[in-house]
């Protein structure tokens, strides 16, 4: 197992390098990185020349990439295009905030989806089953940003009508809150709900399908035959095995959730990775964008690895050589 993990780690290094090269080429080819800066009247010709020298923009793209890679690995991604602001401190701050949002949303989604999937599989074709199916189809069809806006409208209208603040509709915390934790929860609740809907829909479908398969298997029948109470059959025998594919799906879903976080954070003005990404893209500054994409790719690769390890851990039949 350990050998497998180490080998996977080593394997992901060339993948990341290739990823960074593709991203770098794509960002460089898509336009002159200086075009935006050149248009600003308060940036002098000398400054532009300095930028060209510092970022080695007069070299060929592979050479530029090599310089960028050196900067990224030894100098934690270096600075933005103008060279005024180091990238890493900003990225570190927003990563922490996004992690809170994503972890909370995924935990909520997983718990709810688990219950929904198990119950609708146990009562296949019941009203509850049709209800969850309809709900998940809504989840698949609803744009996250639109649902987030609707949540904002509803909560704001409640606030205007009753003058009671249940949840906040923007930012991550109030200035000088009395109770920090409560304040954070009030701020994060709506983004978490908005972000978790798609995950709930996805996971509950998988949970239902995988539960249906397990419920009809021989060992569940055996468990019933030896007189294990139905509740215990469901939880100990069926659910544990049905969980295996769902856990993997959840780990592999990380990229999608991160994409959802970009949209959610933009709507709720939450100072996380998504908002940072959109802002830097708006300014057409390629360097923070590339750093962001690299960090995101590292996360996705780590979660893919996690999915494989979890799969081996939960299902002892799977052996990694």
């Amino acid at each position: 197992m350990l050998v497998y993990v180490v080998r996977r780690f080593l394997y992901s290094i060339p993948v990341l390098l290739l990823c960074s090269f593709i991203i770098f080429t794509f960002v460089s080819v898509s336009g002159d990185p200086l075009s935006e800066v050149k248009r600003r009247p308060n940036v002098s010709q000398v400054t532009v020349q300095q930028i060209v020298e510092r970022k080695h923009l007069d070299e060929s793209i592979p050479v530029q990439w090599a310089y960028w890679l050196k900067d990224a690995t030894t100098n934690s991604f270096g600075t933005d295009l103008l060279g005024n602001r180091p990238i890493w401190p900003d990225l570190k701050r927003v990563m922490g905030n996004t992690l809170q949002l994503v972890v909370a949303a995924e935990l909520l989604a997983f718990t709810i989806a688990l219950a929904m999937g198990v119950i609708s599989a146990k009562r296949q074709y019941s009203l509850f089953d049709y209800g969850t199916t309809t709900f998940s189809f809504f989840g698949f069809s609803m744009p996250v940003f639109w649902f987030a806006l609707i949540l904002q409208v509803i909560v704001t209208n409640i606030y205007l009508a009753t003058d009671v603040r249940i949840f906040y509709t923007a930012n991550l915390s109030s200035p000088n809150p009395e109770n920090f934790l409560l304040d954070r929860i009030q701020h994060l609740a709506l983004p978490v709900i908005a972000l978790s809907v798609l995950s709930i829909a996805t996971y509950s479908r998988y949970m239902r399908a995988s539960m249906l398969e397990v419920v009809n298997s021989d060992y569940v029948r055996t468990a019933r035959a030896k007189g294990v109470p139905e509740r215990k059959v469901t939880v100990h025998h069926a659910m544990r095995n049905a969980l295996i594919p769902v856990v993997t799906v959840a780990a592999l879903n990380f990229g999608t959730v991160l994409g959802g976080a970009v949209v959610t954070e933009t709507v709720f003005a939450l100072d996380g990775m998504g908002l940072y990404f959109i802002r830097q893209l708006g300014e057409r500054d390629a360097y923070p964008v590339m750093a962001w994409l690299m960090v995101a790719a590292v996360f996705v690769i780590l979660f893919n690895l996690l999915a494989d390890i979890l799969y081996g851990y939960l299902d002892p039949r799977i052996r990694y050589e």
């Binding site: 898509s30 074709y125 309809t134 069809s141 744009p143 940003f145 639109w146 990229g255 893209l281």
Partner: protein, 331 residues
């Protein structure tokens, strides 16, 4: 972008209609396989073709039929927006600004701050979304099928190169790369955005197609085709591909929904289709500032997206059930 809407494992979803009694005009048969039983009794069986079987199952799927009907209506209305819309897309009428939805003067969806008829705007926006989504579905299906077919049929280093490329595209954080690509290369044009979406949405289909080609290429009929001297491409397109069509069709249907959602998201963020080209996402972004007072500006374009998405998901569900040969003619 690994979001498979609907069931990951095929099962009869909701909408599975009650069981169909018997094949027409045949005596009641209790055997598992009606054909063998009928042969044993010396009766002639009129075998149903694949297409007939599909139609039987599909037309009985009520949810899918309703969804198909609604989709046809919405898509036709959107594509004929120029003749159907009561007003032009940019037609100003400041005297009638910010009206709520009303039947008067055909302002079904009300008007915006400049008095432009919102129903017409949503209709034109839907037209752009539908066009983009159809192009994306077509392009990504062609790319995914080709890559999956070549990888699955030829195997060896070709497969390795193609599937590692697919894995690499899957490693990229999908939506973020799309946003970056659309922001840097899109220029706000619908067709550019469509091509960018298609270039990143083919991966899951390529994997599915490769899987079915891997198993189908070992079948006897492929061997027979090879023995009679058919070329590789003929075998791929004439012999194997028709047998691998079901998941491709279902996937292409669902990609339409995914594309509409992603395009709306991009346009909402300001990196997709930009004004003056109408798009549902930018309509929502425009309406956002006054969403507390003029609820229809955000709600109605969003509901249009949800309606299209729901219909496509139900349609995909029905297609999946109807195209699955392991399911009996039941619903």
């Amino acid at each position: 972008m690994s979001k498979p809407p609907g069931d990951p494992l095929p099962d009869t979803g909701p909408g599975g209609a009650p069981a169909e009694p018997q094949l027409q005009g045949s005596p009641s048969v209790t055997d598992d396989d009606p054909n063998t039983a009928l042969y044993r009794e010396g009766l002639e069986v009129k075998a149903l073709t694949q297409w007939q079987l599909f139609r039987r199952k599909f037309f009985r799927h009520k949810a899918a039929m309703v969804a198909l009907f609604v989709l046809v209506v919405v898509f036709t209305a959107a594509l004929l927006a120029e003749t159907i819309a009561p007003y032009g897309y940019e037609e100003l009428d400041l005297a009638n600004a910010t009206l709520g939805p009303t039947l008067e003067d055909n302002h079904f969806f009300g008007t915006d701050k400049l008095g432009r008829d919102y129903f017409s705007r949503v209709l034109y926006g839907t037209r752009t979304s539908v066009r983009v989504a159809l192009v994306v579905a077509l392009l990504s299906t062609v790319i995914g099928t080709l890559i999956g077919a070549i990888a699955g049929y030829f195997g060896g280093w070709i497969e390795n190169v193609l599937m590692r490329t697919t894995d690499l595209v899957l490693t990229l954080p999908g939506l973020a790369v799309l946003i970056a690509a659309a922001a840097l290369l899109g220029n706000g044009s619908p067709y550019r955005v469509a091509v960018i979406l298609a270039l990143l949405l083919w991966t899951s289909l390529a994997r599915i197609v490769r899987g079915s080609f891997l198993s189908l290429r070992e079948k006897e009929f492929v061997e027979a085709a090879k023995a009679s001297g058919a070329s590789d491409w003929r075998i791929i397109f004439r012999h194997i591909l028709p047998n691998a069509l079901s998941p491709i069709i279902v996937n292409a249907t669902l990609v339409v929904a995914t594309a509409i959602l992603i395009e709306a998201t991009l346009s909402f963020l300001g990196f997709g289709i930009t004004p003056p080209t109408p798009a549902l996402g930018s309509l929502i972004e425009d309406g956002r500032n006054s969403m507390l007072t003029d609820w229809w500006l955000v709600t109605l374009p969003g509901l249009t997206i949800v309606l299209i998405g729901l219909c496509i998901n139900f349609l995909g569900d029905g297609l999946r059930d109807a195209l699955d040969p392991t399911q009996q003619v039941r619903g």
